[in-house]
Symmetry: C3
Subunit: 133 residues, 3 copies
Amino acid sequence: MLHQIALLAVVTILGVLQQAYFVMQVISVRRKCKVSPPVTSGPPEFERVFRAQVNCAENFPTFLSLLWVAGIFSHQVLAAFFGLIYLCARCQYFSGYARSAEARLGPLYISAGVLCILIGLSVVGLMAHFVSL
Amino acid sequence: MLHQIALLAVVTILGVLQQAYFVMQVISVRRKCKVSPPVTSGPPEFERVFRAQVNCAENFPTFLSLLWVAGIFSHQVLAAFFGLIYLCARCQYFSGYARSAEARLGPLYISAGVLCILIGLSVVGLMAHFVSL
Amino acid sequence: MLHQIALLAVVTILGVLQQAYFVMQVISVRRKCKVSPPVTSGPPEFERVFRAQVNCAENFPTFLSLLWVAGIFSHQVLAAFFGLIYLCARCQYFSGYARSAEARLGPLYISAGVLCILIGLSVVGLMAHFVSL
């Protein structure tokens, strides 16, 4: 049974490593801009990196839910593939947001599009499951 | 085996769609109140909608954890049923909070009550599992 | 099959109860410091407890992901054991942060170390799985 979820687990671990990388970027910009916890406001440069990390963390449970439902009920390889694209788009989103608020928009739309594809895969897989009962 | 988790997956996808709806409400109130990211403070109307979305997102992993543990170890249909009630309560919470901070309280108590029921289902299911070993 | 995940489910429920406890601490300090939602800024005492709760909530999906992947692909008892240590470290982190920003650092490093161990367990388990194919 494990081979039906192993790729999903790999993408999950990669996502966790990405979250850790984003947190370390926030720690780094906190030091650079001299903004110590628990303060979360500061120069625009700090606030952009901070918000980028918060936004990626906020979307992580949604992403994992779709990755696993799509992968289990529809097609594991497809779900894992789109999961990797999502993680790449989130990397671009993070580095874009660190530069300027506008530069986050393109990768944000791509990551939203990938989530829509994973929703589609999930819905098709679940419908096929219930029809076949 | 999929039929033992299909209803949980359906409620999960509905929860994801609800999260997406809340995020779109924040985007809409950001435009209306002219509060551009990364700023997260502004007029009370914006701050209420923003906090409502953050609170729902923060509770989403907790909700999913309880939904799945209760559904797998206790009773799938019951867990999915209470999951739907939770999502309805969260909709009421969100629209209530958008009106006033007080109007969020009733649905918040309902959603907390549903989470308590799911905790109860999970604990009973896990205890039954360990006793039957 | 349930016996392969029952301990992970127990640690998950304990983690959910811990999240609920942290949220109740925030409600309590909100009352004490007279900071009503949706406001999230106030005296340092309130901001430290609030940030402690937000930080623990933000890391909860990451923790659960690692707990389950490590437990399923590597060793359930080991993963559940380190999961319990993580929850203890988070308790120390929360009560430390409530006292002072510096007092959060020790338990934060312990919790990060436990997550690294769970990443290691996950990677070893996944590599063993793919090699054995």
